[in-house]
Amino acid sequence: MDLLYKILIDPFVQMGAAPDLLVQTLWEGLVSGVLYSLIALGFVLIFKASGVFNFAQGIMVVFAALTLVGLHEIGVPAFIALGLTIVVMFGLAYLVERLMLRPLVNQPDIILFMATFGLTYFLIGFGELVFGGNPKKMITSQLYLPSGAYDIKMFGGFVSLQKIDIAAAVIVSLMVISLALFFQKTRIGRALRAVADSHKAALSVGISLEQIWVVVWFAAGIVALVTGIMWGARSEVSFSLQIIALKALPVLILGGFTSIPGAIIGGLIIGIGEKIGEFYWGPLLGSGIESWLAYVIALIFLLFRPQGLFGEKIIERI
C-alpha cells in the first residue's frame, strides 16, 4: 500500500506543493528534448533519403564539435573555424558516399546499418587520435551565443531559464522550418523523397544517387554541427556525448523513422518524460533511471503502435 502511494500519489503531491520546481523540471526536459530532436533530425534526414539507419549520427555530432573547437584552439578565428568545419563535414559526407555507400548500394538495410557501426568506430578512433580524448569547452562566447540565465519569479519560487537554451530552441525551430521547406519545395527535396521510396526507381528516372547521398549526409553533418555547438555549450564537448546520442533512437521510435515533425514531438516527449520521471519517480528506484527510462517509454509505446506516432500503418504484402 505504502509503495503504491509512493508511486501513484506522492509524486503528484510533490508537483502540486512546489509548482516552480515542476515548471523548472518541465523546462529542463523541454530543452534536452530539443537536443534529442536535433539528433533525431539528423537520423531522419539520412533515413528518408537513403533508407540507411545512420548509427554514426551521434559520433558525427562529437566530431563536428571537436573539429570546431580544435580549429579554434590552434588559433583559427571562431567564424572561420565554423566555415572550415562545414567544409570538413562536406568532405566527410563525400568520403562516406565514395568509400562506404557506393560500394554497398543495393545491399539489405541491415548491412548498411552495420556499416555505420564501422563508421562510428572509425570516427571515434580518428577523433581521439587527432583531438585527444579530453573534454573541451565549446567556444560559446566567440560565436556570440548568449550565456547566463533569466530568473523568472513564479509560484513563490524561481524558475531559471538559461539564455543558451532559449537560443537553442529558436535555432532548432528555424532549422526545422527551413528543412521542411527544402524537402517540400525544392527540386533536390523532391529527388530526396523519390530516392527514399526506391533506389532503383529513382535511378531509372535519372536522379543521381551519388549526388543525393552527398547532399543528405552533408545536411545531416550540418545538423550534427549545430547539435554539437548547442550541446557543447550546455555541458562540454566530449566523447561521452556519443552515448547520449543513442537517446535519439527511442525518439525515432516514437516519431517514426521518416517523419520530421515526429522527430520533434518524439524528442520533446522523451526529454520531458525522462526528466519528470527521474525527478519524481527516480528516487524510488535509487535514481539514475534516466539512462534507460527513454527506451522503456519507447518500448511500451511500440507495443501499442508499432509504426510510431506519425508512421503509416504498414500493410504487409507477399
Binding site: Q107, D109, F113, G118, Y121, Y295, L303
Partner: protein
C-alpha cells in the same frame, strides 16, 4: 590436392546429413581438438594461455550466442553485454549463497538466468521487427547495465560496487581465484566451450536451425509454411542469451577475476557484434574467426609496432585499433557481407577443385 572428396561416397542419408560430410574436414577437426586439449596446455606459456587463449575462447562463446540471434535468426541485438552480465552476477550470487555446489555447475546454471531475461526482453519481438527491435534490445542493455550498478544486492553490498571472485575448486584443485593455474582454467573453459559449440552446431544443422534461418530470410513465407514465428524467435532469444550468460560468467570467474559493473556496458555489446559481423553472420566457425581477429588485432598491433621500434603510448594503440576495427567492418561488408567464414568457404571450395577453376 589433399582436400578432395573424390571417392568418398555416401550410401546413407545419415552420412550425408552429417555436420562434416567430408573426411578431410573431420580429420582437421580432430587435429584442432587434439592440439587444443593436449598440445596447447603442454606447450604454451602461462602468458599465452591467460592473455590469448582464455579470452579468445570466452569471446568466441559469446559471439556464438549472438550469432544464433543475429546471424541465424536475423534479429540484430545490442543487448549482448547485458545478458553476459546477468550470467556473471547470477553465478556470483549463486556461488556466494551456496558455496558448496561446484562452480562449473553454477556457471552452467547461471546461463539460465540470462535465458529468462532474454525471453523477457524478446517478448516485444512479437510485434516489432528490424531496427525497432534493435532499439528494444538497447532498452535491455541500458536497464541491465543500470541494475548492475544500482542493485547492490548483486555485489553483496561491496562498497566498491565491484565483485571479487572467490576461490573455488574442481577435483580439489583451485579453478577460480588467484591460485588457479592457467592450464587448469584453460582446460575447464575449453571443455565448456567445446560442449556448447557441439550443441550449437547440432541445433543449427537440424530442424531448429532451419526454422531460425527461414525466419531470418523471409519471415512471412516461414509463417505460411507453418513455422510459428513468435516461438521460433523466442527460442533464439533464449538459447542465444544462455550462451551469452555462460560466456559472461566465464569471463568474470575465469578471466578477469573481478568485475566492475561497467564491463558489461554497451561497448561490450558492440565488441561482440563486431566479432559476429567480421567472422560471418550465420556461421559458428565464423564466430571463432571473428573473436580471434577482433581480440587479437590490438595485441598484434601493439607487438608489431614495438617490434619495428615504434614506441607509442597505449592510448594511441587503442585509437588505431578503433580505427582499424571500424574500417575493417566496412571493408568486410563491402567485400563479403558474410564475413571471414564465407571467405574460408570459398577457399575450401577452390581447394576442392584445384588446380582447375571449376
Amino acid at each position: 590436392m589433399f582436400y578432395r572428396e573424390a571417392g568418398q561416397f555416401k550410401t546413407t542419408y545419415q552420412a550425408d546429413q552429417a555436420v562434416f560430410p567430408i573426411l578431410q574436414d573431420r580429420i582437421g577437426l580432430a587435429i584442432i581438438l587434439v592440439s587444443a586439449f593436449v598440445l596447447i596446455p603442454l606447450a604454451a606459456t602461462d602468458f599465452f594461455l591467460t592473455v590469448i587463449m582464455i579470452p579468445f575462447l570466452i569471446l568466441a562463446l559469446a559471439s556464438m550466442g549472438l550469432n544464433i540471434l543475429t546471424g541465424y535468426t536475423g534479429l540484430l541485438s545490442l543487448g549482448t553485454g547485458g545478458f553476459m552480465g546477468v550470467g556473471a552476477f547470477a553465478c556470483y550470487k549463486l556461488t556466494t549463497i551456496y558455496p558448496g555446489v561446484n562452480i562449473v555447475i553454477w556457471i552452467l546454471v547461471s546461463g539460465f538466468f540470462s535465458t529468462a531475461l532474454g525471453i523477457l526482453f524478446g517478448l516485444p519481438s512479437l510485434r516489432i521487427k528490424g531496427f525497432y527491435l534493435t532499439v528494444a534490445t538497447l532498452a535491455s542493455q541500458f536497464f541491465l547495465d543500470w541494475s548492475f550498478i544500482r542493485v547492490q544486492w548483486l555485489t553483496n553490498y561491496n562498497t566498491s560496487g565491484a565483485i571479487e571472485v572467490p576461490t573455488r575448486t574442481l577435483f580439489s584443485m583451485p579453478v577460480t581465484g588467484p591460485n588457479a593455474t592457467p592450464q587448469f582454467r584453460y582446460l575447464v573453459i575449453l571443455s565448456i566451450v567445446t560442449l556448447l559449440t557441439w550443441f550449437a552446431s547440432n541445433l543449427v544443422h537440424g530442424r531448429i536451425g532451419r526454422m531460425w534461418m527461414a525466419v531470418r530470410d523471409m519471415d512471412l513465407a516461414a509463417e505460411l509454411i507453418g513455422i510459428p514465428l513468435y516461438r521460433t524467435k523466442l527460442l533464439a532469444f533464449a538459447i542465444s542469451s544462455y550462451y551469452c550468460g555462460v560466456a559472461g560468467a566465464l569471463m568474470v570467474f575465469f578471466w578477469y577475476g573481478s568485475a566492475e559493473p561497467g564491463v558489461f556496458n554497451i561497448d561490450q555489446s558492440f565488441t561482440i557484434l563486431f566479432m559476429v559481423i567480421i567472422g560471418g553472420l550465420g556461421s559458428l566457425t565464423g564466430s571463432f574467426f571473428g573473436a580471434a581477429l577482433i581480440y587479437g588485432l590490438p595485441i598484434v598491433l601493439k607487438n608489431v609496432l614495438h617490434g619495428v621500434g615504434i614506441n607509442i603510448v597505449p592510448a594511441t594503440v587503442e585509437h588505431i585499433t578503433f580505427m582499424s576495427v571500424g574500417a575493417l567492418i566496412v571493408l568486410v561488408l563491402i567485400i563479403e557481407p558474410l564475413g571471414l567464414a564465407r571467405l574460408w568457404q570459398i577457399t575450401k571450395q577452390k581447394l576442392r577443385v584445384w588446380p582447375f577453376p571449376y
